[in-house]
Protein backbone atom coordinates (compact mmCIF):
# COMPACT_ATOMS: atom_id res chain seq x y z
CA UNK A 1 0.00 0.00 0.00
CA UNK A 2 2.70 2.44 0.93
CA UNK A 3 4.73 1.75 -2.23
CA UNK A 4 1.74 2.80 -4.34
CA UNK A 5 1.33 6.05 -2.41
CA UNK A 6 5.04 6.64 -2.84
CA UNK A 7 4.74 6.11 -6.60
CA UNK A 8 1.74 8.43 -6.73
CA UNK A 9 3.57 11.09 -4.73
CA UNK A 10 6.66 10.89 -6.94
CA UNK A 11 4.51 11.06 -10.06
CA UNK A 12 2.62 14.08 -8.76
CA UNK A 13 5.76 15.95 -7.73
CA UNK A 14 7.45 15.21 -11.05
CA UNK A 15 4.44 16.37 -13.07
CA UNK A 16 4.05 19.61 -11.16
CA UNK A 17 7.77 20.35 -11.28
CA UNK A 18 7.89 19.50 -14.97
CA UNK A 19 4.98 21.78 -15.84
CA UNK A 20 6.45 24.63 -13.82
CA UNK A 21 9.84 24.30 -15.51
CA UNK A 22 8.21 24.09 -18.97
CA UNK A 23 6.04 27.15 -18.37
CA UNK A 24 8.95 29.13 -16.94
CA UNK A 25 11.30 28.31 -19.78
CA UNK A 26 8.59 29.08 -22.36
CA UNK A 27 8.00 32.52 -20.95
CA UNK A 28 11.71 33.20 -20.60
CA UNK A 29 12.81 32.03 -24.00
CA UNK A 30 10.00 33.71 -25.94
CA UNK A 31 10.77 37.11 -24.43
CA UNK A 32 7.70 37.21 -22.28
CA UNK A 33 9.63 36.86 -19.02
CA UNK A 34 8.13 40.01 -17.55
CA UNK A 35 4.67 38.51 -17.63
CA UNK A 36 5.59 36.47 -14.56
CA UNK A 37 4.87 39.27 -12.11
CA UNK A 38 3.90 38.13 -8.65
CA UNK A 39 3.61 41.62 -7.17
CA UNK A 40 1.49 42.88 -10.07
CA UNK A 41 -0.76 39.84 -9.76
CA UNK A 42 -1.31 40.42 -6.05
CA UNK A 43 -2.15 44.07 -6.61
CA UNK A 44 -4.71 43.18 -9.24
CA UNK A 45 -6.71 40.81 -7.03
CA UNK A 46 -10.06 42.31 -6.19
CA UNK A 47 -10.89 43.05 -2.54
CA UNK A 48 -13.94 40.85 -2.91
CA UNK A 49 -11.57 37.92 -3.43
CA UNK A 50 -9.48 38.79 -0.39
CA UNK A 51 -12.51 39.24 1.81
CA UNK A 52 -14.34 36.11 0.82
CA UNK A 53 -11.17 34.02 1.01
CA UNK A 54 -10.80 35.21 4.58
CA UNK A 55 -14.31 34.22 5.46
CA UNK A 56 -13.88 30.76 3.90
CA UNK A 57 -10.64 30.15 5.77
CA UNK A 58 -12.30 31.29 8.95
CA UNK A 59 -15.16 28.86 8.86
CA UNK A 60 -13.37 26.09 6.94
CA UNK A 61 -10.29 25.76 9.14
CA UNK A 62 -12.33 26.14 12.34
CA UNK A 63 -14.57 23.26 11.35
CA UNK A 64 -11.56 21.09 10.46
CA UNK A 65 -10.08 21.78 13.88
CA UNK A 66 -13.32 21.02 15.67
CA UNK A 67 -13.91 17.79 13.76
CA UNK A 68 -10.34 16.59 14.25
CA UNK A 69 -10.56 17.24 17.97
CA UNK A 70 -13.90 15.48 18.24
CA UNK A 71 -12.67 12.33 16.56
CA UNK A 72 -9.52 12.17 18.67
CA UNK A 73 -11.40 12.60 21.95
CA UNK A 74 -14.44 10.63 20.84
CA UNK A 75 -12.64 7.42 19.93
CA UNK A 76 -10.79 7.36 23.27
CA UNK A 77 -14.05 8.00 25.13
CA UNK A 78 -15.72 5.14 23.28
CA UNK A 79 -12.87 2.77 24.02
CA UNK A 80 -12.72 3.68 27.69
CA UNK A 81 -16.49 3.51 28.12
CA UNK A 82 -16.57 -0.18 27.13
CA UNK A 83 -15.36 -1.16 30.54
CA UNK A 84 -16.21 1.95 32.53
CA UNK A 85 -19.56 3.28 31.24
CA UNK A 86 -19.70 6.05 33.83
CA UNK A 87 -17.11 8.13 31.95
CA UNK A 88 -19.31 8.60 28.90
CA UNK A 89 -21.51 11.42 30.23
CA UNK A 90 -18.81 13.39 32.01
CA UNK A 91 -16.39 13.30 29.10
CA UNK A 92 -18.88 14.91 26.76
CA UNK A 93 -17.41 18.14 28.08
CA UNK A 94 -14.31 17.53 25.96
CA UNK A 95 -16.51 17.15 22.88
CA UNK A 96 -18.36 20.34 23.78
CA UNK A 97 -15.09 22.26 24.09
CA UNK A 98 -14.14 21.09 20.61
CA UNK A 99 -17.53 22.06 19.24
CA UNK A 100 -17.20 25.55 20.71
CA UNK A 101 -14.23 26.05 18.43
CA UNK A 102 -16.46 25.58 15.39
CA UNK A 103 -18.98 28.01 16.88
CA UNK A 104 -16.27 30.66 17.16
CA UNK A 105 -15.59 30.16 13.47
CA UNK A 106 -19.26 30.55 12.57
CA UNK A 107 -19.68 33.69 14.66
CA UNK A 108 -16.68 35.34 13.09
CA UNK A 109 -17.79 34.34 9.62
CA UNK A 110 -21.17 35.98 10.25
CA UNK A 111 -19.55 39.13 11.64
CA UNK A 112 -17.18 39.32 8.68
CA UNK A 113 -19.78 38.66 6.05
CA UNK A 114 -21.84 41.58 7.35
CA UNK A 115 -19.14 43.83 5.87
CA UNK A 116 -19.54 42.41 2.36
CA UNK A 117 -21.68 44.16 -0.21
CA UNK A 118 -21.83 44.97 -3.92
CA UNK A 119 -19.94 48.01 -5.14
CA UNK A 120 -21.71 49.89 -7.94
CA UNK A 121 -19.72 53.09 -8.21
CA UNK A 122 -18.07 54.14 -11.47
CA UNK A 123 -14.77 54.88 -9.79
CA UNK A 124 -14.38 51.27 -8.76
CA UNK A 125 -13.08 50.19 -5.40
CA UNK A 126 -11.99 52.83 -2.90
CA UNK A 127 -8.95 52.61 -0.63
CA UNK A 128 -11.24 51.79 2.27
CA UNK A 129 -12.57 48.82 0.32
CA UNK A 130 -9.07 47.52 -0.20
CA UNK A 131 -8.41 47.86 3.51
CA UNK A 132 -11.60 45.95 4.30
CA UNK A 133 -10.62 43.18 1.90
CA UNK A 134 -7.14 42.77 3.34
CA UNK A 135 -8.25 42.89 6.95
CA UNK A 136 -11.00 40.35 6.36
CA UNK A 137 -8.46 37.99 4.74
CA UNK A 138 -5.89 38.11 7.50
CA UNK A 139 -8.45 38.28 10.28
CA UNK A 140 -10.21 35.25 8.90
CA UNK A 141 -6.97 33.34 8.47
CA UNK A 142 -5.96 34.17 12.05
CA UNK A 143 -9.24 32.92 13.44
CA UNK A 144 -9.17 29.79 11.27
CA UNK A 145 -5.63 28.73 12.13
CA UNK A 146 -6.05 29.45 15.84
CA UNK A 147 -9.21 27.36 15.93
CA UNK A 148 -7.56 24.52 14.00
CA UNK A 149 -4.75 24.21 16.52
CA UNK A 150 -7.11 24.75 19.44
CA UNK A 151 -9.34 21.92 18.25
CA UNK A 152 -6.34 19.59 18.06
CA UNK A 153 -5.11 20.56 21.51
CA UNK A 154 -8.48 20.11 23.15
CA UNK A 155 -9.04 16.83 21.33
CA UNK A 156 -5.73 15.28 22.43
CA UNK A 157 -6.21 16.43 26.01
CA UNK A 158 -9.78 15.16 25.92
CA UNK A 159 -8.54 11.74 24.89
CA UNK A 160 -6.06 11.76 27.76
CA UNK A 161 -8.81 12.83 30.15
CA UNK A 162 -11.07 9.99 29.05
CA UNK A 163 -8.57 7.19 29.66
CA UNK A 164 -7.34 8.77 32.89
CA UNK A 165 -10.92 9.11 34.15
CA UNK A 166 -11.58 5.46 33.31
CA UNK A 167 -8.61 4.49 35.47
CA UNK A 168 -9.07 6.89 38.39
CA UNK A 169 -12.03 9.19 38.86
CA UNK A 170 -10.18 11.98 40.61
CA UNK A 171 -7.94 12.66 37.65
CA UNK A 172 -10.73 13.99 35.44
CA UNK A 173 -11.11 17.44 36.95
CA UNK A 174 -7.35 17.98 36.99
CA UNK A 175 -6.98 17.20 33.32
CA UNK A 176 -10.06 19.30 32.55
CA UNK A 177 -8.16 22.35 33.85
CA UNK A 178 -5.49 21.71 31.21
CA UNK A 179 -8.19 21.41 28.60
CA UNK A 180 -9.65 24.76 29.57
CA UNK A 181 -6.28 26.40 29.06
CA UNK A 182 -6.15 24.78 25.66
CA UNK A 183 -9.56 26.06 24.63
CA UNK A 184 -8.56 29.61 25.53
CA UNK A 185 -6.34 29.57 22.43
CA UNK A 186 -9.42 29.61 20.23
CA UNK A 187 -10.74 32.56 22.17
CA UNK A 188 -7.49 34.44 21.50
CA UNK A 189 -8.01 33.86 17.79
CA UNK A 190 -11.53 35.27 18.06
CA UNK A 191 -10.33 38.39 19.86
CA UNK A 192 -7.54 39.05 17.37
CA UNK A 193 -9.97 38.57 14.48
CA UNK A 194 -12.29 41.15 15.95
CA UNK A 195 -9.47 43.60 16.57
CA UNK A 196 -8.02 43.25 13.09
CA UNK A 197 -11.35 43.84 11.37
CA UNK A 198 -12.62 46.33 13.89
CA UNK A 199 -11.89 49.43 11.83
CA UNK A 200 -12.88 47.97 8.47
CA UNK A 201 -15.92 49.62 6.93
CA UNK A 202 -18.47 48.01 4.68
CA UNK A 203 -17.77 47.88 0.95
CA UNK A 204 -18.90 51.17 -0.61
CA UNK A 205 -16.84 52.02 -3.68
CA UNK A 206 -15.46 55.41 -4.64
CA UNK A 207 -17.92 58.01 -3.57
Amino acid sequence: MSTYTNYAKTALHTTVAGLAVWAGLYLLLTGRGERFNVGGYLLRISPYMWGVYGISFCIGLSVVGAAWGIFIAGSSILGGAVRTPRIATKNLISIIFCEVVAIYGVIMAIVFSAKLGAVSSEGGFSKSDYYTGFSLFWGGLAVGLANLICGLAVGITGGNAAVADAHDQQLFVKILVIEIFGSVIGLFGLIVGLLVTGKAEDFAGVI
Partner: protein
Protein backbone atom coordinates in the same frame (compact mmCIF):
# COMPACT_ATOMS: atom_id res chain seq x y z
CA UNK B 1 2.88 14.53 15.81
CA UNK B 2 1.81 10.97 16.35
CA UNK B 3 -1.07 12.01 18.61
CA UNK B 4 -3.01 13.80 15.90
CA UNK B 5 -3.63 10.73 13.76
CA UNK B 6 -3.13 7.75 16.10
CA UNK B 7 -6.75 7.68 17.20
CA UNK B 8 -8.06 7.32 13.66
CA UNK B 9 -7.17 3.62 13.57
CA UNK B 10 -6.40 2.55 17.09
CA UNK B 11 -8.09 4.98 19.50
CA UNK B 12 -11.02 2.73 20.35
CA UNK B 13 -8.85 -0.33 20.81
CA UNK B 14 -6.43 1.56 23.01
CA UNK B 15 -9.33 2.56 25.26
CA UNK B 16 -10.50 -1.05 25.36
CA UNK B 17 -7.04 -2.38 26.24
CA UNK B 18 -6.69 0.15 29.01
CA UNK B 19 -10.02 -1.09 30.30
CA UNK B 20 -8.63 -4.63 30.30
CA UNK B 21 -5.62 -3.38 32.22
CA UNK B 22 -7.91 -1.82 34.83
CA UNK B 23 -9.34 -5.29 35.34
CA UNK B 24 -6.06 -6.82 36.49
CA UNK B 25 -6.12 -8.19 40.01
CA UNK B 26 -4.86 -5.71 42.63
CA UNK B 27 -2.93 -6.28 45.84
CA UNK B 28 -5.96 -6.43 48.20
CA UNK B 29 -7.58 -9.01 45.95
CA UNK B 30 -4.36 -11.05 45.92
CA UNK B 31 -4.45 -10.89 49.71
CA UNK B 32 -7.91 -12.44 49.63
CA UNK B 33 -6.81 -15.09 47.17
CA UNK B 34 -3.84 -16.15 49.28
CA UNK B 35 -6.07 -16.55 52.31
CA UNK B 36 -8.34 -19.07 50.63
CA UNK B 37 -8.35 -22.51 52.16
CA UNK B 38 -9.70 -24.60 49.30
CA UNK B 39 -10.01 -24.42 45.55
CA UNK B 40 -13.72 -23.63 45.87
CA UNK B 41 -12.91 -20.57 47.98
CA UNK B 42 -10.47 -19.52 45.29
CA UNK B 43 -13.12 -19.93 42.62
CA UNK B 44 -15.51 -17.83 44.69
CA UNK B 45 -12.95 -15.07 45.06
CA UNK B 46 -12.19 -15.13 41.36
CA UNK B 47 -15.89 -14.63 40.63
CA UNK B 48 -15.46 -10.92 41.37
CA UNK B 49 -12.74 -10.53 38.75
CA UNK B 50 -12.80 -10.60 34.96
CA UNK B 51 -12.55 -14.40 35.01
CA UNK B 52 -16.01 -14.87 36.46
CA UNK B 53 -17.83 -15.68 33.23
CA UNK B 54 -15.28 -18.33 32.31
CA UNK B 55 -15.17 -20.07 35.67
CA UNK B 56 -18.79 -20.10 36.67
CA UNK B 57 -19.76 -23.10 34.56
CA UNK B 58 -17.06 -25.39 35.87
CA UNK B 59 -18.23 -28.20 38.18
CA UNK B 60 -17.21 -27.72 41.74
CA UNK B 61 -14.02 -29.66 42.54
CA UNK B 62 -11.98 -27.56 40.11
CA UNK B 63 -8.41 -28.68 39.38
CA UNK B 64 -5.43 -26.41 38.83
CA UNK B 65 -5.06 -27.38 35.20
CA UNK B 66 -8.72 -26.56 34.47
CA UNK B 67 -8.30 -23.24 36.26
CA UNK B 68 -5.26 -22.46 34.16
CA UNK B 69 -7.05 -23.46 30.96
CA UNK B 70 -10.12 -21.32 31.71
CA UNK B 71 -8.02 -18.30 32.65
CA UNK B 72 -6.12 -18.67 29.39
CA UNK B 73 -9.46 -18.83 27.58
CA UNK B 74 -10.38 -15.48 29.13
CA UNK B 75 -7.09 -14.01 27.94
CA UNK B 76 -7.57 -15.41 24.44
CA UNK B 77 -11.14 -14.07 24.22
CA UNK B 78 -10.00 -10.58 25.12
CA UNK B 79 -7.09 -10.64 22.69
CA UNK B 80 -9.23 -11.98 19.87
CA UNK B 81 -11.73 -9.17 20.43
CA UNK B 82 -8.88 -6.75 19.84
CA UNK B 83 -7.68 -8.59 16.74
CA UNK B 84 -11.13 -8.83 15.22
CA UNK B 85 -11.76 -5.12 15.63
CA UNK B 86 -8.37 -3.94 14.39
CA UNK B 87 -7.47 -2.19 11.14
CA UNK B 88 -4.22 -1.96 9.27
CA UNK B 89 -1.41 -0.56 11.35
CA UNK B 90 -2.59 -2.04 14.63
CA UNK B 91 -3.61 -5.39 13.13
CA UNK B 92 -0.05 -5.95 11.88
CA UNK B 93 1.30 -5.26 15.35
CA UNK B 94 -1.12 -7.69 16.98
CA UNK B 95 -0.15 -10.32 14.40
CA UNK B 96 3.48 -9.89 15.30
CA UNK B 97 2.62 -10.57 18.92
CA UNK B 98 1.01 -13.87 17.93
CA UNK B 99 4.10 -15.11 16.06
CA UNK B 100 5.76 -15.91 19.38
CA UNK B 101 2.92 -18.27 20.23
CA UNK B 102 3.07 -19.78 16.75
CA UNK B 103 6.70 -20.71 17.32
CA UNK B 104 5.77 -22.45 20.57
CA UNK B 105 2.99 -24.35 18.84
CA UNK B 106 5.24 -25.46 15.98
CA UNK B 107 7.82 -26.81 18.41
CA UNK B 108 5.13 -28.52 20.47
CA UNK B 109 3.73 -30.27 17.41
CA UNK B 110 7.13 -31.39 16.15
CA UNK B 111 8.16 -32.74 19.55
CA UNK B 112 4.84 -34.51 19.96
CA UNK B 113 5.07 -36.07 16.53
CA UNK B 114 8.57 -37.32 17.24
CA UNK B 115 7.31 -39.03 20.37
CA UNK B 116 4.35 -40.40 18.42
CA UNK B 117 1.55 -38.74 20.33
CA UNK B 118 -1.97 -38.50 18.98
CA UNK B 119 -2.55 -35.56 16.63
CA UNK B 120 -5.80 -34.42 18.22
CA UNK B 121 -4.34 -34.31 21.72
CA UNK B 122 -1.45 -32.25 20.46
CA UNK B 123 -3.69 -29.80 18.66
CA UNK B 124 -5.72 -29.30 21.79
CA UNK B 125 -2.62 -28.41 23.74
CA UNK B 126 -1.60 -25.71 21.28
CA UNK B 127 -1.97 -22.11 22.38
CA UNK B 128 -5.03 -20.65 20.61
CA UNK B 129 -3.36 -17.34 19.91
CA UNK B 130 -0.70 -19.04 17.83
CA UNK B 131 -3.00 -20.88 15.49
CA UNK B 132 -2.36 -20.58 11.78
CA UNK B 133 -4.00 -22.34 8.87
CA UNK B 134 -1.47 -24.99 7.96
CA UNK B 135 -0.61 -25.88 11.53
CA UNK B 136 -2.31 -29.30 11.71
CA UNK B 137 -0.24 -30.41 8.71
CA UNK B 138 2.87 -30.19 10.86
CA UNK B 139 2.18 -33.58 12.32
CA UNK B 140 3.32 -35.36 9.18
CA UNK B 141 6.76 -33.76 8.89
CA UNK B 142 9.81 -35.82 9.81
CA UNK B 143 12.78 -33.58 9.05
CA UNK B 144 13.33 -29.87 8.77
CA UNK B 145 13.45 -29.75 4.96
CA UNK B 146 10.04 -31.44 4.71
CA UNK B 147 8.74 -29.22 7.43
CA UNK B 148 9.78 -26.12 5.58
CA UNK B 149 8.77 -27.12 2.08
CA UNK B 150 5.35 -28.47 2.84
CA UNK B 151 4.14 -26.42 5.74
CA UNK B 152 6.13 -23.44 6.85
CA UNK B 153 6.71 -21.76 3.51
CA UNK B 154 3.10 -20.50 3.49
CA UNK B 155 3.00 -19.53 7.13
CA UNK B 156 4.03 -16.18 8.59
CA UNK B 157 7.10 -17.84 10.13
CA UNK B 158 8.72 -18.65 6.77
CA UNK B 159 11.38 -15.96 7.03
CA UNK B 160 12.53 -17.15 10.44
CA UNK B 161 13.53 -20.58 9.19
CA UNK B 162 16.40 -19.34 7.10
CA UNK B 163 18.93 -19.89 9.84
CA UNK B 164 17.56 -23.29 10.87
CA UNK B 165 17.67 -25.17 7.63
CA UNK B 166 21.11 -26.53 8.33
CA UNK B 167 19.83 -28.73 11.17
CA UNK B 168 19.77 -32.18 9.69
CA UNK B 169 17.29 -34.12 11.74
CA UNK B 170 14.96 -33.57 14.64
CA UNK B 171 16.24 -34.89 17.92
CA UNK B 172 15.89 -33.43 21.40
CA UNK B 173 18.85 -31.05 21.32
CA UNK B 174 18.18 -29.90 17.81
CA UNK B 175 14.57 -29.04 18.60
CA UNK B 176 15.62 -26.68 21.33
CA UNK B 177 18.13 -25.12 18.98
CA UNK B 178 15.41 -24.71 16.37
CA UNK B 179 13.13 -23.10 18.93
CA UNK B 180 15.77 -20.64 20.05
CA UNK B 181 16.86 -19.81 16.52
CA UNK B 182 13.27 -19.15 15.45
CA UNK B 183 12.66 -17.00 18.48
CA UNK B 184 15.87 -15.07 17.87
CA UNK B 185 14.82 -14.29 14.28
CA UNK B 186 11.35 -13.34 15.51
CA UNK B 187 12.69 -10.92 18.13
CA UNK B 188 14.95 -9.20 15.67
CA UNK B 189 12.16 -8.92 13.09
CA UNK B 190 9.71 -7.60 15.68
CA UNK B 191 12.27 -5.05 16.82
CA UNK B 192 12.84 -3.70 13.32
CA UNK B 193 9.08 -3.59 12.70
CA UNK B 194 8.57 -1.56 15.88
CA UNK B 195 11.30 0.82 14.82
CA UNK B 196 9.42 1.39 11.58
CA UNK B 197 6.24 2.26 13.51
CA UNK B 198 7.64 5.63 14.55
CA UNK B 199 7.78 7.29 17.93
CA UNK B 200 6.71 6.64 20.70
CA UNK B 201 5.97 3.00 19.85
CA UNK B 202 9.57 2.53 18.71
CA UNK B 203 11.24 3.61 21.93
CA UNK B 204 8.78 1.92 24.28
CA UNK B 205 8.85 -1.41 22.44
CA UNK B 206 12.63 -1.15 22.08
CA UNK B 207 12.87 -1.02 25.88
CA UNK B 208 10.66 -4.07 26.30
CA UNK B 209 12.22 -6.16 23.53
CA UNK B 210 15.77 -5.37 24.63
CA UNK B 211 15.02 -6.63 28.09
CA UNK B 212 13.42 -9.76 26.65
CA UNK B 213 16.52 -10.34 24.56
CA UNK B 214 18.87 -9.87 27.54
CA UNK B 215 16.81 -12.25 29.58
CA UNK B 216 16.87 -14.90 26.87
CA UNK B 217 20.62 -14.48 26.52
CA UNK B 218 21.16 -15.10 30.22
CA UNK B 219 18.71 -18.01 30.30
CA UNK B 220 20.29 -19.71 27.28
CA UNK B 221 23.69 -19.33 28.92
CA UNK B 222 22.60 -20.77 32.23
CA UNK B 223 20.62 -23.62 30.69
CA UNK B 224 23.50 -24.66 28.50
CA UNK B 225 25.91 -25.32 31.36
CA UNK B 226 26.61 -29.03 31.44
CA UNK B 227 25.01 -29.84 28.10
CA UNK B 228 26.73 -30.77 24.87
CA UNK B 229 25.96 -27.42 23.26
CA UNK B 230 29.23 -25.97 22.00
CA UNK B 231 30.16 -22.38 22.82
CA UNK B 232 29.93 -21.28 19.20
CA UNK B 233 26.47 -22.76 18.85
CA UNK B 234 25.47 -21.04 22.03
CA UNK B 235 26.67 -17.69 20.71
CA UNK B 236 24.62 -18.19 17.57
CA UNK B 237 21.44 -18.45 19.60
CA UNK B 238 21.74 -15.04 21.27
CA UNK B 239 19.42 -12.41 19.73
CA UNK B 240 21.36 -9.55 18.20
CA UNK B 241 19.78 -6.83 20.27
CA UNK B 242 19.67 -5.63 23.82
CA UNK B 243 22.01 -4.02 26.28
CA UNK B 244 24.23 -7.08 26.23
CA UNK B 245 24.80 -7.03 22.49
CA UNK B 246 27.58 -7.33 21.40
CA UNK B 247 30.16 -7.15 24.18
CA UNK B 248 28.59 -9.01 27.04
CA UNK B 249 27.24 -11.62 24.65
CA UNK B 250 30.72 -12.52 23.47
CA UNK B 251 31.81 -12.79 27.10
CA UNK B 252 28.78 -14.82 28.11
CA UNK B 253 29.38 -17.22 25.24
CA UNK B 254 32.65 -18.23 26.88
CA UNK B 255 31.48 -18.60 30.49
CA UNK B 256 31.28 -21.92 32.29
CA UNK B 257 29.59 -21.26 35.60
CA UNK B 258 27.23 -18.98 37.48
CA UNK B 259 29.89 -16.84 39.14
CA UNK B 260 31.23 -15.68 35.81
CA UNK B 261 27.69 -14.90 34.64
CA UNK B 262 27.10 -12.91 37.80
CA UNK B 263 30.31 -10.95 37.29
CA UNK B 264 29.26 -10.03 33.76
CA UNK B 265 25.77 -9.00 34.87
CA UNK B 266 27.22 -6.75 37.53
CA UNK B 267 28.80 -4.56 34.90
CA UNK B 268 25.35 -3.21 34.04
CA UNK B 269 23.93 -0.79 36.60
CA UNK B 270 20.34 -1.99 36.25
CA UNK B 271 21.14 -5.66 36.54
CA UNK B 272 23.59 -5.11 39.39
CA UNK B 273 20.85 -3.44 41.38
CA UNK B 274 18.46 -6.25 40.56
CA UNK B 275 20.66 -9.19 41.52
CA UNK B 276 21.77 -7.64 44.79
CA UNK B 277 19.57 -9.79 46.98
CA UNK B 278 19.26 -12.76 44.72
CA UNK B 279 19.78 -16.42 45.01
CA UNK B 280 21.80 -17.17 41.93
CA UNK B 281 20.97 -20.83 41.70
CA UNK B 282 19.03 -21.62 38.57
CA UNK B 283 15.99 -23.13 40.24
CA UNK B 284 13.16 -20.98 41.50
CA UNK B 285 12.04 -22.99 44.47
CA UNK B 286 13.04 -20.17 46.81
CA UNK B 287 15.02 -21.87 49.57
CA UNK B 288 14.92 -20.34 53.00
CA UNK B 289 17.99 -18.11 52.92
CA UNK B 290 17.22 -15.94 49.89
CA UNK B 291 14.32 -13.87 48.65
CA UNK B 292 14.14 -14.41 44.97
CA UNK B 293 15.79 -16.43 42.27
CA UNK B 294 17.13 -14.92 39.07
CA UNK B 295 13.97 -15.90 37.21
CA UNK B 296 11.78 -14.14 39.77
CA UNK B 297 13.90 -11.03 39.46
CA UNK B 298 13.53 -11.05 35.70
CA UNK B 299 9.76 -11.46 36.03
CA UNK B 300 9.58 -8.57 38.49
CA UNK B 301 11.58 -6.30 36.21
CA UNK B 302 9.44 -7.26 33.23
CA UNK B 303 6.31 -6.36 35.22
CA UNK B 304 7.80 -2.98 36.09
CA UNK B 305 8.69 -2.19 32.46
CA UNK B 306 5.25 -3.24 31.29
CA UNK B 307 3.52 -1.08 33.88
CA UNK B 308 5.62 1.88 32.78
CA UNK B 309 4.46 1.59 29.19
CA UNK B 310 0.94 2.56 30.26
CA UNK B 311 2.18 5.97 31.35
CA UNK B 312 2.10 7.27 27.78
CA UNK B 313 -0.87 7.37 25.49
CA UNK B 314 -1.10 6.93 21.70
CA UNK B 315 1.31 4.08 21.14
CA UNK B 316 1.06 0.34 20.40
CA UNK B 317 3.16 -0.79 23.33
CA UNK B 318 0.12 -0.95 25.60
CA UNK B 319 -1.22 -3.95 23.70
CA UNK B 320 1.98 -5.94 24.17
CA UNK B 321 2.35 -4.85 27.80
CA UNK B 322 -1.22 -5.74 28.72
CA UNK B 323 -0.79 -9.23 27.25
CA UNK B 324 2.40 -9.84 29.23
CA UNK B 325 0.86 -8.52 32.45
CA UNK B 326 -2.19 -10.71 31.98
CA UNK B 327 -0.02 -13.77 31.43
CA UNK B 328 1.91 -12.94 34.58
CA UNK B 329 -1.37 -12.66 36.45
CA UNK B 330 -2.43 -16.10 35.23
CA UNK B 331 0.93 -17.51 36.37
CA UNK B 332 0.32 -15.92 39.77
CA UNK B 333 -3.17 -17.38 40.07
CA UNK B 334 -1.93 -20.83 39.10
CA UNK B 335 0.90 -20.55 41.65
CA UNK B 336 -1.53 -19.62 44.41
CA UNK B 337 -3.88 -22.41 43.33
CA UNK B 338 -1.06 -24.97 43.39
CA UNK B 339 0.03 -23.84 46.84
CA UNK B 340 -3.50 -24.14 48.12
CA UNK B 341 -4.21 -27.50 46.56
CA UNK B 342 -0.91 -28.97 47.75
CA UNK B 343 -1.37 -27.45 51.20
CA UNK B 344 1.95 -25.59 51.12
CA UNK B 345 0.68 -22.26 52.37
CA UNK B 346 4.11 -21.01 53.41
CA UNK B 347 5.10 -20.47 49.80
CA UNK B 348 1.87 -18.88 48.69
CA UNK B 349 3.26 -15.35 48.84
CA UNK B 350 5.96 -15.94 46.28
CA UNK B 351 3.93 -14.64 43.36
CA UNK B 352 5.07 -11.52 41.47
CA UNK B 353 2.78 -8.66 42.50
CA UNK B 354 1.59 -6.39 39.71
CA UNK B 355 -0.56 -3.66 41.24
Amino acid sequence: MNEIYFNADAGYLEGVVRGYRDGLITAPQYMNLTQCETMDDLKLQLATTDYSSFLQNEPSPISTSTLSARCTDALVAEFQYLQQNSAEPISKFLEYITYGYMIDNVILLITGTLHERDTHDLLEKCHPLGFFDTMPALCVATNVQDLYNTVMVDSPLAGYFRECLSAEDLNELNIEIIRNTLYKAYLEDFYSYCQSCGEPTASIMAELLKFESDRRTVNITINSFGTELSKDDRAKLYPRLGNMYPEAQTKLARTDDMDQVKAILEQYGDYKRMILGANMNASSDGTSGSDMSLEDIFFANEVQLNKDSFEQQFHFGVFYSWLRLKEQEIRNIVWIAECISQQQKDKVNKYTPIY
